[in-house]
């Protein structure tokens, strides 16, 4: 019996429970007549109460089934095998089990492991038995819950209060998901980083200037130790995200915001704003492809034409330029907010004194809006250094500590992707270092965001 089918049956049971409860509630209403207060709750609350009581235990069992069912089946299949059929290591077991699963699903026509055929039929039997067990438990509990709730219905039963209390619990649980996510991020990053820092000292990680995470498989290989000095990565991230990208994005974003808020006619603004929105909505993988295919070769050709011989086709400049363009709409909209928050009286006063619009903007509006603009730029930096696809596709993986924009540098995010894709064993320093990089990235972006939001908030309050 498949879990999807049982899910539908349970839903139908819930529908039936709702209908029965509602019928009963309506009977109360008829019996109570027009007397106010004869029935506490309206019929649909009686129905909802019965339905909740039926669905809650049934879904609980289904959830247990979904999470644990396959593990139970696998354990039974493994314990039913003759001794020595499968190796003792976890790896061999999981390989064997995935083969059995493939056989059961019909992905494989024949088994590679001779005992897998037998195990596959054992798997089918076991999963049918567990399926029956969980399905009947789920339905039985659902029926019991519904019946119990139905017997409790009385004219003065406070069904609405119960249902509303349940709704409140649901609301609180939903809002807890956000905290749980934050907690999950922090916990997983800190936990894995802690394991990494047991192998590599934090001092070496934060201040070392050599990055070559390739740890050798055999101990006698050259370079088997691996080097985890992340300074070249931090520098590459700052160089691309906070320097080159911002050199592009700040002037262009600021000037577009100034033009759109101060000069442009409403009709023109209506056309220009969507252009920026489209620019903001283009997926980063598209920017990355564009950077790698079009911008990077152009930058390399340019570098060669001005006499830089060792120009790389994966340059910091190409990635930074495209990232800057990606950030323009973001800077522009933050600057837009900051400029429109400046009180009109300041601008009008300046204009009335005979200043030209550009003088007003440069000497009155921008100084007044500066905290807001700076906050917006900090948010843009935080977004740029967390950006992944552009640097993965255009910046390369060479951990150079260089200030030459035509050279190849690598970033924290590009390294995380490189370390965690492809074959990996989860306990090596190489894979764990990705989590340490992630932790640094998380903390830096968090600090930038909190600081920037505080700046923006303070600035808003100053003019409110």
């Amino acid at each position: 019996m498949s879990i999807g089918f049982v899910f539908l049956v349970v839903l139908a049971l819930g529908g039936l429970a709702y209908w029965l409860g509602r019928q009963r509630g309506m009977a109360f209403a008829v019996a109570g007549g027009a007397r106010v207060g004869a029935v506490h709750s309206r019929p649909q609350y009686h129905g909802a109460f019965v339905a909740i009581m039926a669905l809650l235990p049934a879904f609980l069992v289904l959830a247990i089934w979904a999470v644990m069912g396959e593990g139970l089946v696998a354990r039974e299949v493994l314990s039913g095998l003759p001794a020595g059929a499968v190796g003792d290591s976890d790896l061999e077991r999981s390989a064997f089990l995935s083969e059995v699963r493939g056989l059961v699903r019909g992905d494989y026509a024949a088994a590679f492991n001779p005992s897998a055929e037998g195990a596959a039929s054992a798997w089918k039997l076991a999963s049918a038995r567990y399926g029956l067990l969980f399905a009947s438990a789920s339905l039985a509990l659902g029926l019991m819950g519904g019946l119990w709730a139905w017997t409790r219905l009385k004219p003065d039963f406070r069904a609405r209060t119960r249902v509303e209390r349940f709704m409140m619990i649901l609301l609180v649980v939903a809002s807890l998901v956000a905290i749980l996510t934050t907690f999950g991020i922090v916990a997983s990053l800190v936990f894995e980083s802690f394991r990494f820092f047991q192998m590599v000292s934090p001092i070496e990680f934060l201040f070392g200037t050599q990055w070559s995470p390739q740890t050798a498989i055999r101990a006698d290989q050259v370079g088997s130790s691996g080097a985890f000095g992340a300074v070249p990565l931090f520098w590459g991230t700052i160089f691309i995200g906070a320097i080159i990208a911002m050199i592009v994005a700040i002037p262009l974003g600021l000037m577009t915001a100034i033009y759109l808020t101060q000069y442009a006619a409403p009709a023109f603004r209506k056309v220009a704003k969507p252009v920026l929105e489209v620019l903001a909505g283009v997926p980063t993988v598209v920017y990355g492809f564009f950077a790698a295919l079009t911008v990077a070769p152009a930058v390399r050709d340019f570098a060669i034409s001005i006499g830089i011989s060792n120009a790389s086709s994966e340059s910091a400049l190409a990635a930074g330029l495209v990232m800057g363009v990606m950030i323009i709409p973001f800077v522009s909209s933050m600057a837009d907010d900051a400029l429109t928050a400046v009180p009109a009286s300041m601008r009008d006063g300046s204009l009335a004194m005979g200043a030209t619009p550009s003088e007003t903007i440069r000497k009155v509006m921008i100084p007044a809006a500066l905290p807001g603009i700076v906050g917006g730029v900090l948010l843009a930096v935080s977004r740029a250094i967390g950006e992944t696809m552009i640097v993965v596709m255009a910046a390369g993986l060479a951990a150079n500590l260089t200030a030459n924009p035509f050279n190849s540098v690598t970033t924290v995010t590009a390294q995380i992707v490189a370390l965690l894709t492809g074959d990996q064993e989860f306990d090596s320093a190489k894979t764990l270092s990705a989590f340490a990089l992630g932790l640094v990235l998380f903390l830096v972006t968090l600090a930038l965001n909190i600081y920037a939001l505080a700046v923006v908030k303070k600035y808003r309050e100053a003019y409110d």
Partner: protein, 435 residues
């Protein structure tokens, strides 16, 4: 500032306010020139941004539209029963017998007979078309039929004029034999270009002419279904709680701060979370849409919460007061009155969040959705890839044929994003009420 100050000091002879003086006129001219320059800089900045967008679109569409066209070669195919290993009767009696038949052999024989052995003209995957033809009409076995078959990527690129014929043979991906064969076929009229259904209906492949986006598209769809199913209800309920019921205390502050921060956490961090929690701790299947959907749901959640809170805030308090006044409970006020009025705003925010999730690549890379898959995913727990990830995989491929495939996939992705965003804008304009 300094220059103006110096100007004023150097002008002590004439009064600073003398409008008619030459110095004043010069100053005014300079200030107006600055004004014009400043305005021009604003227009220039906008033009650069718009120009980049146009350049990007032109580049992508220019190289991508070719991926929707396919070159086919006309080949007389002889379905020999002995070579196939099945008879028409067997084929009719048991369609499964076809899966044992040697269509590859028949194809290579037919191609060799027609063109000789010197150049690869017909794609290795073209035998599928033969099987389909026999499936439809088993009487074909033993006869010869002229069939349009998929050309190899090199012939395809030649037909689309994507290859510089003047380049030295060592510097181009196509050798002289292939060019000569292509020229002959073209002169004989045995080549045609049709709508590339392979690209739209198949999954990934090592051969560019057989690779398609349907597998990735379906993977994206399955992933987004999970994302929507989780993030929309949870996001809306969380927003309702925070906006309507939560007491102002430290606990609520923590929830609010964590939601605002989650909205700004780099997406790759969510990928790390998915890898460490869903895959390594909960042992969920690798590369599966359900894991991708869960990861993206956590990423989209703050977007939906923030949009939903704004929508709830926009509902005027008078509506709540009126409902409370005629005896509704607080829960009834929210679910019967506030929620229906705030729903359009919530939906708009949700759709925009979904659009962002559709374009997201990095977190999916982390949880292994970059596997090379030649079959279309059939369920939530089967290995799948997503459209942006497919773009990333193809962009790594140096083969010329894959460059146009990458751009073609980008066009499809952008069309979907455009549709989704237009839907959001339509919903906003159609249903949003300004109080």
């Amino acid at each position: 500032m300094d220059r103006q100050g110096a100007g004023v000091r150097g002008n002590l002879s004439a009064a600073p306010t003398a409008w008619g003086s030459d110095q004043m006129q010069a100053r005014i001219r300079r200030r107006y020139r600055q004004e014009r320059n400043f305005k021009a800089m604003g227009i220039l900045a906008l033009m650069i941004a718009a120009g980049f967008l146009v350049f990007l679109m032109v580049t992508v569409i220019g190289s991508g539209w070719n991926s929707f066209r396919q070159t086919q070669v006309l080949v007389p195919v002889t379905f020999e029963a002995e070579r196939l290993g099945i008879t028409p009767e067997q084929a009719r009696a048991d369609p499964r017998a076809l899966s044992r038949a040697n269509f590859q052999g028949v194809l290579s024989d037919s191609v060799e007979r027609r063109f000789g052995d010197d150049a690869a003209l017909v794609s290795d995957g073209a035998w599928l078309a033969l099987r389909k033809a026999v499936e439809a009409d088993p009487a074909l076995i033993g006869t010869t039929k002229e069939m349009w078959l998929i050309a190899t990527s090199n012939i395809d690129q030649l037909s689309k004029r994507q290859i510089d014929l003047d380049a030295d043979e060592t510097n181009r991906p196509v050798n002289d034999v292939e060019i000569a064969a292509w020229g002959r076929l073209k002169a004989e009229g045995k080549l045609r270009t049709v709508l590339n259904m392979t690209f739209l209906t198949s999954a990934d492949s090592v051969d560019p002419e057989l690779a398609g986006i349907w597998g990735a598209l379906k993977g994206s769809f399955l992933t987004l279904v999970v994302t929507l199913a989780i993030s929309f209800p949870v996001g809306v309920l969380a927003a309702i709680y925070l906006e309507e019921f939560a007491a102002k205390n430290r606990w609520t502050d923590i929830v609010e701060v964590s939601i605002n921060n989650l909205a700004a956490v780099p997406s790759i961090i969510f990928g790390l979370l998915g890898l460490s929690v869903f895959l390594n701790t909960m042992n969920m299947p690798r590369s599966a849409p359900v894991v991708g959907g869960l990861t993206l749901a956590l990423m989209t959640l703050p977007v939906i919460v923030i949009a939903s809170r704004a929508a709830i805030k926009a509902v005027p308090p008078s509506i709540r007061d009126a409902a409370l006044g005629i005896g509704a409970s607080r829960v009834q006020v929210v679910f019967h009155h506030v929620l229906p009025l705030a729903l359009p705003g919530m939906l708009t925010g949700t759709i925009l969040g979904m659009a962002r999730a559709l374009g997201e690549t990095a977190p999916l890379l982390m949880i292994g959705m970059r596997a090379f898959l030649t079959s279309v995913p059939q369920g939530l727990t089967q290995p799948a890839t997503a459209l942006p990830v497919q773009i990333f995989i193809w962009s790594d491929n140096v083969s010329r044929g894959f460059v146009e495939k990458t751009s073609g996939a980008i066009i499809v992705l952008l069309v979907f994003l455009l549709t989704i965003n237009s839907l959001a804008i339509y919903l906003r304009n159609r249903f949003e009420v300004r109080w």
